[in-house]
Symmetry: C2
Subunit: 309 residues, 2 copies
């Protein structure tokens, strides 16, 4: 399979990242993570998807809850409540250490790429974990009631409002390491993350989409038997693409970017114009993550390794 | 007793602050706190004495341990350990909320005085708590082995090195509220804190020493029967003043700044040139703090309310 670049959002993407990191030698793997959800809270720089991927790779993630660390406590949060600070975004005590260190290093002038490398190194994570951008590029959600940042829309307002449009604010800037990883990649795997709010923000970073389009690129469908495994994707496909939620709608969304799509067995129907692989894509255990990683990589290897542009 | 200004360092000073705050109406009391111990740790702005006073006044302090909050946990610290961050200064999880908020508000441009007022308000603390300075003025410790910041000397290096000199780095700047409180004060009480590293740094703030000298000023001795109740003061009196630790040595240190000194019963000997009051000065309980506060205030009221300069 050569060099692999894996594009990831939060939970679902992070689970497959765990399998991919076991299946591919660290020196041949770069994991590129969405930073469109990044925001400032309590004056700290929070990178939810980077943290989910990092904690998952380090076997520290709370898999049940879907975010944060295992055995987490929330004592700082309870004190914040006393101080009348905002508490809708629940930062755990151990998690807070990550945000405090990241914020400090960013203020000292380190890039987010360098900060992430330091944190990952300390947690014993072998493959490169690369933020999609070294500059802020918040994912913005236009709704009938106005424009919201992603966290305000999803977490604070619990995704109540229908989404009219998703876009990136700011000027995303890829790290040299990210562009180099894509240039060297033989295969790009797009994780089973929300295309609109996890993957598209990565693809909007200058230089990324055209490089992905030039590689052998396989997406793993986040829609299984017409439902999103987690999160608001099913509704977004309906309101944004006017499509019933399906793996086919995901394939259509990515269009010619893909060499192939890997879907849950039984979801192959109505997918045209792109190669289809199928298997079990729902990951509850690490063994399932690893097994899916092997299947997806094997599927990718059946596709031509270079593409006509 | 009119308007009271109380000068305080950490633990001992904070305990008497608790009694003073019960004995004096909030609108007639200002508690001025040393900020020479303030430092930056994990990129956060830490004000140890302000926090000890604040937590003590809010009945949240861990009185047994002498610092931090009751029922504190240290999960963020354990994560910092994983990240190979410095862990010699133990910040608790709930304590961290204070530092995160303070750091954020300072970065947003609020003065330390305003930040402290916000925190105290949220914790339901009635009297004004005023940092001695709104600008950094770190207490520096000259030792045979070189110059250290106060926290490095006391906490990191456990006060191993003898102290040659204590001084303040930076340009301390008093808040208008502090100068106004001193101008309106009828009585200044100097808490049973370390004169060298808790009170002198307050007195070195421009405008403070001369105002204190012009008021009816009573110090409470931190030396009881030749011993410091807590901390390195006994040794500092020996190396810095060449004096055996005693209430008399404390009186001599403050000199003409004082109208009177309040000491442990039996420690009156060898104190000349200044009025002496005596009683029980060791505070283990809130009742003892309140009782000492009443005794000290009553003693002050026996002294002339205006001084010849």
């Amino acid at each position: 399979m050569g060099n692999v670049v894996y594009l990831s959002g939060g939970v679902g993407g992070a689970r497959l990242a765990h399998g991919i990191a076991k299946a591919v030698d660290a020196e041949h793997l770069a994991i590129v993570v969405n930073v469109g959800d990044d925001f400032t809270h309590w004056g700290l720089s929070i990178s939810p998807d980077l943290d989910t991927v990092m904690y998952t790779l380090a076997d520290l993630a709370d898999v049940e809850r879907g975010w944060g660390l295992q055995d987490e406590t929330f004592h700082a949060l309870s004190m914040m409540q006393r101080y009348d600070a905002e508490t809708w975004f629940q930062l755990g005590d151990r998690d807070l250490a990550t945000h405090v260190l990241r914020s400090r290093w960013l203020r000292e002038g380190l890039t987010l790429t360098k900060v992430t490398a330091r944190l990952c190194h300390a947690l014993g994570i072998a493959p490169r974990v690369l933020p999609a951008s070294d500059t802020p590029c918040a994912t913005m959600i236009d709704t009938a009631g106005g424009t919201l940042t992603f966290q305000d829309w999803l977490v604070r307002d619990r995704a109540r409002a229908d989404v009219k449009r998703v876009w990136s604010r700011g000027e995303p800037r890829p790290s040299p390491a990210l562009l180099e990883a894509l240039d060297r990649a033989d295969t790009v795997i797009i994780g089973p993350s929300n295309p609109y709010v996890s993957i598209d923000p990565i693809l909007r970073v200058p230089g990324v989409r055209e490089r992905v389009a030039a590689r052998r690129t396989v997406a793993v469908s986040p829609i299984v038997h017409g439902k999103a495994v987690k999160g608001p994707l099913a509704r977004m496909l309906q309101t944004l693409a006017g499509a019933e939620p399906s793996a086919a709608a995901v394939a259509q969304h990515y269009g010619t970017l893909l060499s192939g799509i890997f879907v849950e067995s039984g979801d192959e129907a109505a997918i045209h114009d792109v190669a289809v692989g199928a298997g079990g894509t729902v990951m509850q255990t690490r063994a399932q993550s690893l097994s899916l990683a092997h299947e997806v990589l094997a599927f990718a290897d059946t596709l031509p390794s270079h593409r006509a542009r």
